[in-house]
């Protein structure tokens, strides 16, 4: 299970030469090239010589990385903050309020959540164009904020809070905004933590949307550039992916206790 993580990390500490000699066969059909003799990629886990050469290239020598890293950070941060806030409000309506057409409307959200991005690609492109969002982060951030996943997940958590709490508070004269803010939100903190992690994992890895909506290379998030780098310079690729994995691993370790508790709760009332 952990092999890919270990490989990325140890390989990132090798020199470009070592990486090159280990992997120079990838993508070649060597049967003919080596005169029939079979040759293989050398998957080495322990570097001959621990070197920070790749990190130096990623962090100091190429300012592009940091620029793209920053693009990733701010786009993802805005999407997460937005989707959590917007989603929590909508989830409250779906979980704790009764109104006509509620279940039907929620079903529509559910279907939207399952739709792959490609389904609404063309119209989304046209709408982004009409709103003047093309080639700007807005074309990615705004649809992200209104994603249905947050609504769905937070609703699951709110369903597991007994409605009696809400009713009792209501009888005591608290308004719905107050109930939402002072009772529901504190109780679903684990759910919010879990949602943040899952959204982070998802959007930190986005590839399709930026490729289509962002024309300029310097506006791309790191996720898009990473795959380009890995084709061109494998050695730097490992260091870049470790650097790129770092925020996710840190967030995950930090949120794990919350997260696991949170995901568990959402499973309760499938």
């Amino acid at each position: 299970m952990l092999l890919p993580i270990i490989i990325s990390f140890t390989n990132s500490l090798m020199t470009e030469q070592e990486i090159g000699s280990n992997y120079d066969l990838v993508g070649q059909m060597t049967n003919a090239a080596t005169g029939g003799k079979d040759a293989f990629v050398n998957l080495k886990l322990i570097p001959d010589w621990v070197s920070f050469e790749q990190y130096n290239k990623v962090l100091l020598a190429t300012p592009t990385y940091l620029n793209l890293f920053w693009n990733s950070v701010y786009m993802v941060a805005i999407i997460i903050a937005g989707q959590v806030a917007v989603g929590a409000f909508a989830a409250y309506a779906f979980a704790k309020l009764r109104f006509r057409g509620r279940d039907r409307m929620f079903f529509v959200y559910l279907i939207a959540m399952l739709m792959p991005f490609q389904v609404t690609l063309v119209p989304n492109y046209i709408i982004a164009d009409k709103l003047g969002l093309l080639n700007s982060a807005g074309a990615i951030v705004l649809p992200g904020i209104f994603g249905a996943f947050g609504v769905f997940m937070l609703r699951q958590f709110m369903l597991s809070i007994p409605t009696a709490y809400v009713e009792a508070a209501y009888m005591d004269g608290a308004g719905h905004f107050r109930i939402f803010h002072q009772i529901i939100i504190p109780l679903i903190k684990p759910g919010i933590a879990a949602l943040i992690v899952l959204l982070f994992v998802d959007y930190w890895n986005m590839v399709e949307q930026p490729l289509i909506f962002l024309e300029d290379d310097f506006k791309q998030p790191l996720s898009v550039y990473l795959s380009v780098v890995q084709q061109e310079a494998r050695g730097v690729g490992y260091a870049a992916s470790v650097f790129y994995m770092l925020p996710m691993v840190l967030l995950f370790l930090y949120a794990e206790s919350y997260f696991i508790e949170g995901v568990q709760m959402s499973g309760i009332k499938g």
């Binding site: 917007v86 046209i126 890895n205 399709e208 890995q230 790129y244």
Partner: protein
Amino acid sequence: MFRVIMRRHSVVAIWFLAPSALGFLVFYLIPFAMGLWYSFLDRPNDGSFVGLANYKELLNSDSFRKAAQNTFLFTSVSVPITIALSLLLALLLNQSIYLRNWLRTAYVLPLVVPVASVVLIWQVLFDWNGTVNSWLYGFGLSRIDWMKSEWARGVLSVVYAWKNIGYNIILFLAGLQNIPKDYYETADLEGAGTFHKLARITLVYLTPTLFFVVLMGLISSFRIFRETYLIASDYPHDSIYMLQHYMNNMFLSLDMQKLTSAAVVMVVCLLLLVSGMFALERRFTKDLD
């Protein structure tokens, strides 16, 4: 009384829902409705209504059929297998407390590995000269061109399982811990066997969790496109050419008619599938509580 509550709730609900519903309308519903409309026109700008002609053409197109078939096959095989495997592991992990937390972390960590890194490792392992082939060679077997043969589908399924098992396990563990212990005790008193308990108690009470897991599994099975795209680009081997590849390529070749009608077909399938799941869930959970 109920009417009054309804009316009072409706007014409040509007405020809670407004931000989400508005954004949802602009960025999801209207785009989808527009897509639906385009799928009945002969061209996107000032096109005239041609009814189902685009759909007819779509269904006659070999690459669409291939893509739909592959997507269906991948989802209907990988998702159930991964879920069954996760359920099995969850049942095992639920037995022994020893090492449980460590194993749980190890199973969940793949979720945080960036797609691009997965791709890098994948290349090293499944290349013609890759590590897996060197193992095969070591055993005296002939090597396999993993990504350029029918095997690609299998490799994709392995990566999918690797990524998603941990998440499912956690959900199942939570569901399992939620089943009251006295159900099992009563069953023991009545002399029920292990299999009987599994079928009549565990699986029945896991149904809501299962529903959630299946939904999540569906979503992530569509996401596997990212990995495929990054490793094999626009035109991967035939066996892993997915609907998303098809739609992406139609977009790049500006064939909006095929793209939008393919999208509509996909959503109709999803609709049928999810409605079916809801109906099933209702039937299975009717006896609960």
